[in-house]
């Protein structure tokens, strides 16, 4: 079963019919509306399509009914830019009057709409990673069941310094918030454990050829990359083509080595070590169902984008169950979402801190070829990782938000 946008129209017709119908026919409660802010056009469309597949897989599994309520699903394409995200958020909230929003995809889209969803009291379950939205600027309507930008990168910094014993690292990522925050998290933990980040490179989101950047990588023990969208595919190919792969091991954030990307990659990805909050190999019952359904319906191994939306769906269901017939109260729903604690999700156990950000496992994976297929084999699990890593929450929040300049890179050469 696939839910079409047309259902919106049908839903509107049904709603007007309901108004027109005599009262005794109106026993059925109105449907519960879930709006998805996703990207279906432009360079980020790949992740956007996976987000929709993830939530559709969940809704199909639940027969389109959560906590006894029929679900009306409305998908909106932001075009992958902040202005579009704002317009579409207005559409979902003001025209369609959705109960809850899932998405958006990109940090810069989320930053453009956080104030707006708060002012309009609509809960939003984000997959975008912008740190401050669940830190210094936390607001009661935003819940993040995926991860902050740095949540996995902290773990990667720890693993690189302690287990891989790397001393000198270079970082490379897109020149936007998600990239800054990832690299900053890695740098902080890596340097706190004796490493040095000696070079930080920022190619733009759209870079036809990475050679000018890769050519600058030398005299380091490892390179940590945080690319997103379709960029990791290009980057890793160039990294291998230029021979750097054979000299400097490559580390990656979750978007750069997402399981869904594996089908677009080849030998150039083998050996890359990545940190991610979701692994398609995770051994939970819901993950088995999820992976099987995704492979059957969409012929793809799911990655973080689709898993994140599946988990978001589970969180919405749990919160609705908590509230019973009060689920239409959006403020109560936001509060209930903060209290959700699940043991069986595709990513493992999930609970939230007081800022609305998830606490969950982070997996360190190595890319290998098994039976002809590329897989990210889990080599270490960091359990119950919070957005603050092992740092004190107060001290963490007293610092400025992670950025291009914070923490300051004192060891640049």
């Amino acid at each position: 079963m696939k839910i079409q946008r047309r259902t919106v129209l049908k839903g509107m017709l049904a709603a007007s019919a309901a108004v027109a119908a005599p009262p005794f026919l109106r026993a059925q409660p109105a449907s519960f509306k879930i709006g998805l802010l996703t990207v279906k056009t432009g360079p980020l469309a790949q992740g956007g399509n996976q987000m929709e597949q993830g939530i559709l897989t969940f809704l199909t599994e639940k027969n389109n009914t959560l906590a006894g309520r029929k679900i009306e699903f409305i998908s909106a394409d932001t075009g992958g830019n902040p202005a579009g995200a704002k317009t579409k958020a207005q559409e979902l909230i003001e025209r369609d009057k959705v109960n809850v929003i899932l998405g958006p995809l990109a940090a810069f889209e989320l930053l453009a709409i956080t104030d707006y969803v708060r002012d309009n009291a609509t809960p939003l379950l984000s997959i975008a990673a912008a740190e401050d939205v669940t830190q210094r600027k936390a607001n009661p309507f935003i819940i993040r069941p995926s991860a902050t930008s740095a949540q996995c990168c902290h773990a990667m910094g720890d693993y690189a310094a302690k287990e891989l014993k790397f001393k000198r690292a270079a970082t490379i990522s897109e020149d936007f918030a998600f990239g800054y925050e990832q690299m900053a998290g890695f740098q902080r933990v890596f340097e706190d454990n004796g490493g040095k980040v000696v070079k930080k490179l920022w190619p733009p989101l759209v870079t036809p050829d990475y050679t000018p950047y890769i050519a600058q990588l030398s005299n380091v023990d490892c390179v940590f990359n945080g690319f997103a969208g379709s960029n990791p595919v290009k980057f890793m190919r160039a990294y291998a083509d230029l021979g750097v792969k054979y000299k400097i091991p490559l580390l990656a954030g979750w978007t750069a080595m997402d399981d869904a990307l594996l089908k677009s990659l080849s030998d150039e990805a083998i050996g890359v070590i990545s940190a991610a909050w979701y692994s398609s190999e995770a051994n939970t019952p819901s993950n088995k169902r999820f992976v099987e359904a995704m492979q059957k319906n969409y012929l793809t191994l799911p990655g973080g984008y689709s898993a994140g939306m599946y988990v978001a769906g589970q969180c919405v269901e749990a919160a609705m169950q908590m509230l019973g017939d009060k689920a239409d109260d959006r403020t109560a729903l936001a509060a209930a979402l903060h209290k959700v604690s699940l043991t069986d999700t595709p990513r493992g156990a999930v609970k939230f801190d007081s800022y609305g950000n998830v606490i969950g496992d982070v997996f360190i994976r190595r890319c290998e070829r098994k039976g002809g297929q590329l897989v990210n084999t889990v080599i270490k699990t960091y359990p119950n990782v919070s957005q603050f890593w092992t740092y004190d929450e107060k001290a963490f929040l007293a610092n400025p938000v992670y950025s291009r300049d914070y923490p300051p890179a004192k060891n640049l050469e």
């Binding site: 990207v39 279906k40 056009t41 432009g42 360079p43 980020l44 469309a45 790949q46 992740g47 956007g48 399509n49 020149d175 920022w202 190619p203 733009p204 759209v206 870079t207 036809p208 050829d209 050679t211 000018p212 950047y213 050519a215 600058q216 030398s218 969208g229 379709s230 595919v233 290009k234 190919r237 083509d241 230029l242 021979g243 750097v244 677009s264 080849s266």
Partner: protein, 286 residues
């Protein structure tokens, strides 16, 4: 030192690819006096078609040729049935090509989805040349070789054949060319098809290096524009030299002045347009 060397060689490789992209653009611009704003779309659509042919098991170079031929056909249809109706009206022509760029971008997204595709490098050109500890991918050098071969072929076509003579006459002075009985209209279709085909061929050749992804069209179009403006419209030599200049500006600009990379790229275009509108190698149009 190794950084500069790598960048220099890479600049030449990018230049080769840019030539494949912009040679046809230059001829179309020179002959028809319209900037074909769907040229980047031809490049992208060509690359996607190539990916599909490769999927069907066609060998790499055949896929590139097939894609070029298919695109030439599509291009000639667009020219013959839509652009031609607007002949002499620059503005509607510009807009029509712009409208098509929207359509092609969305069609590609519909058919090939948002997934990035990066076809494998042809087996015989895999690996890298190692000189003094520096890696250089053989495939990128091969792109330069292909570009040089195409450049020579185009030069022979334009300078040594009857068809070429007509094209040159058309570029130099369309009204006179029409007056002496050159079928300018058919020539337009032919050149447009050739340009579209070359762009598509370039798209496939570039795919193992740049990969194919939504938004590629918008990235390649401005590059083609700069090359042609710099070199001079309608001038193949100009397109050739311009391609390599832009290859260098692009690579060194990104590495040395990342903040101003696009200023470095587009400023020469403005300067040429303002100071020498005919481009470095263009003829002065009376």
């Amino acid at each position: 030192m190794s950084l500069w060397l790598t960048l220099a060689v890479n600049s030449i490789a990018l230049g080769g690819l840019l030539f494949l992209l912009s040679a046809g653009f230059s001829l179309i611009f020179g002959l028809m006096r319209i900037p074909n704003l769907m040229h980047g779309s031809f490049f992208m659509l060509g690359a996607y078609l190539g990916v599909t042919f490769l999927d069907k098991g066609v060998t790499f170079w055949l896929a590139a040729l097939l894609s070029g031929v298919a695109m030439a056909l599509i291009g000639s249809l667009i020219e013959r049935f839509l652009l031609k109706r607007l002949s002499g009206q620059e503005l509607p022509q510009v807009l029509l090509t712009l409208g098509f760029s929207f359509i092609i971008a969305d069609l590609c997204l519909m058919i090939w989805t948002g997934d990035p595709w990066q076809p494998a490098t042809p087996a015989e050109l895999r690996g890298a040349l190692q000189v003094a500890g520096l890696f250089f991918p053989i495939y990128r050098l091969a792109i330069v070789a292909v570009a040089v071969v195409v450049a020579i072929a185009l030069w022979l076509l334009v300078d040594w054949t009857r068809l070429g003579a007509k094209i040159r006459a058309g570029v130099d002075d369309p009204p006179i060319a029409r007056m002496v009985g050159i079928p300018v209209s058919r020539l337009f279709t032919l050149v447009f098809a050739l340009g579209a085909g070359l762009a598509a061929f370039g798209g496939v050749v570039g795919a193992p290096y740049l990969s194919v992804y939504p938004g590629m069209d918008a990235e390649m179009l401005p590059l083609a524009l700069i090359v042609v403006i710099l070199g001079g419209t309608g001038s193949l030599v100009g397109a050739f030299v311009g391609s390599f200049i832009i290859g260098f500006l692009f690579n060194f600009g990104q590495a040395m002045f990342p903040d101003l990379a696009y200023v470095i790229l587009f400023l020469p275009m403005v300067l040429v347009l303002v100071l020498r509108p005919q481009g470095l190698f263009g003829k002065v149009v009376s």
